[in-house]
């Protein structure tokens, strides 16, 4: 079992976060923090707000209340003279380049080859040279087990292969924080293991902070330092995976786990 690094300022901190879509409140008074190198898995029934949390960190959703800090700096809004003011797009972009995300539906760019998908942002966003980015891309493709697919078209690959390319693409940006949003939910059961093994390997060999939403409970148990159980936009229970999975204290957690573990 991996151990988190020594305590320091949290990499991600949610302070009184509220997210509403119109009148529908998805998250309310949410406070939690994630330390550097920590891997946190969010579990809970659909509609409990887990994915919304990842999307808020990736700035894909507008934060309607409260504050999110990345490396101690405000990601979307800061408090100034008692008022909540938006941070500048430039500041937001600077923080956002430290965050990477892998999506359920892969979202590879179909107008580019596998290699081009991986090197596009390192070259044009981080300013790496083409040679540097290409070399890194080839080693990442090696790491995800697709060394010979660089010049292929994304749509000619299977779902599992596409997701491995998407992982390589996210890692090519050298993120401090990696958000994994149900990355195996759209895959055929027989390839889920491959993708999870690659992520286990990333977890073992890097110090990247991970925020994970998954229904793969054994993966959550193996990889995460902390599991947070959500229901109705609130944290019902949180703790070490061995505690949550073998001896949950909250009835709602017990009920949820027995339901998902029965399905699995």
């Amino acid at each position: 079992m991996p151990t988190p690094t020594e305590p320091e300022a949290p990499v991600i901190e949610f302070v009184d976060v509220e997210k509403r879509f119109g009148d529908n409140i998805v998250l309310k008074d949410l406070n939690f923090s994630v330390r550097r190198g920590e891997r946190v898995t969010l579990i809970g029934p659909s509609g409990s707000g887990k994915t919304t949390i990842l999307r808020l960190v990736m700035t894909l959703e507008e934060l309607t209340g409260g504050y999110i800090f990345v490396d101690g700096e405000p990601l979307t809004h800061r408090e100034k003279d008692g008022k909540r003011v938006a941070v500048s797009p430039k500041e937001q972009k600077r923080l956002r380049t430290r965050i990477g995300m892998v999506f359920q539906q892969f979202n590879l760019f179909p107008n580019m080859t596998v290699l081009e998908n991986i090197i596009e942002a390192p070259i044009h966003v981080l300013g790496q040279s083409k040679a540097e980015a290409t070399a890194k891309a080839h080693s990442l493709l090696e790491q995800v087990g697709l060394p010979d697919k660089a010049d292929q078209h994304p749509l000619s690959l299977s779902g599992g292969q596409q997701q491995r390319v998407a992982i390589a693409r996210a890692l090519a940006m050298d993120p401090e924080i990696l958000l994994l949003d149900e990355v195996t939910s759209a895959l055929d059961p027989e390839v889920v293991g491959d993708v999870l093994n690659i992520l286990r390997n990333v977890a073992d060999t890097t110090n990247v902070t991970m925020l994970i939403v998954t229904h793969e409970m054994s993966f959550a148990r193996d990889v995460s330092h902390k599991v947070m159980m959500f229901d109705g936009g609130r944290v019902v229970e949180e703790g070490a995976p061995e505690k949550i999975f073998s001896d949950p204290s909250h009835a709602r957690t017990k009920q949820f786990l027995s339901a998902v573990l029965r399905d699995a």
Partner: protein, 251 residues
């Protein structure tokens, strides 16, 4: 005079008018191509503005689009040629006037095609560009537009043919385009021969060439997105059966 003699005379007139008709045809080709180039630029700019979440970009785009779609090309041509000079804005050449009127009118229609196809690009693609911290210009140029392009070509092909036919109206500002020369031919022959025969063949051939070029552009754009056959496969004398998207699990 019997019908055959009449036709013989018509064809002699056609021969005499040949060089003029050809010049007129070339002018129509130029008007169409330059007008279409301008219309495309206007369509992309207005389409991007019209699809923007920022109201101060969206609102002016909407006003311009609705204005130029809602007034006829003829009226716009009159405005550019006869009314703007009253405000001290005179365009020297009738060709420029024709191109501007065609560009604005069809650009406004094209803007809707551009906007619609930009919004048709899967939301996951937009989200991936955010996750990779791409700037707005970068994501549009490298990710979103190349995908929207394949979607907008069929609409643009339609508009291109409309624009070509619309160009027949520019003779009213004194341009000797194909339509004008056809009218000259009609004076010495007859309406049936000039329009229903020579005009039909001229415009139809040009339209056919334009639509085929657009079709090939679409094939190429789709192939680049991993859909359908390549241009070479389409043009090869022994066409393969279309296979569409290759099934996954290549290895």
């Amino acid at each position: 005079m019997d019908w055959l003699d009449q036709q013989q005379q018509n064809f002699e007139s056609l021969q005499n008018f040949g060089p003029r008709l050809w010049d007129g045809f070339l002018l129509t080709v130029q008007l169409t191509l330059v007008g279409a180039a301008l219309a495309f630029v206007i369509a992309v700019i207005l389409g991007l503005m019209g699809g923007s979440p920022k109201w101060w970009l969206r609102t002016p785009a909407r006003i311009i689009i609705e204005f130029f779609r809602g007034t006829s090309l003829l009226v716009q041509l009159f405005w550019v040629y006869y009314v703007l000079p009253l405000f001290g804005l005179t365009l020297e050449s009738a060709f420029t006037v024709g191109v501007i009127a065609l560009g604005l009118n069809y650009g406004a229609y094209g803007a809707e095609a551009v906007r619609a196809s930009l919004t048709s690009v899967a939301s996951g693609q937009w989200e991936a560009t955010v996750a990779l911290s791409m700037s707005w210009q970068h994501k549009i140029r490298r990710v979103i537009f190349p995908q929207a392009w394949a979607l907008m070509i069929p609409s643009l092909a339609n508009l291109l043919v409309h624009l070509m036919k619309g160009s027949a109206i520019v003779y009213i500002v004194g341009l000797n385009d194909f339509n004008f020369e056809l009218d000259q031919l009609r004076r010495v022959t007859d309406a049936w021969f000039a329009y229903a025969f020579v005009g039909l063949i001229g415009y139809f051939t040009f339209a056919l060439v334009l639509t085929q070029i657009m079709r090939l552009l679409e094939v190429r754009a789709r192939h680049r997105l991993g859909q359908g056959l390549s241009m070479r496969e389409i043009l090869s004398p022994a066409p393969k059966l279309p296979t569409g998207i290759q099934p996954g699990g290549a290895s």
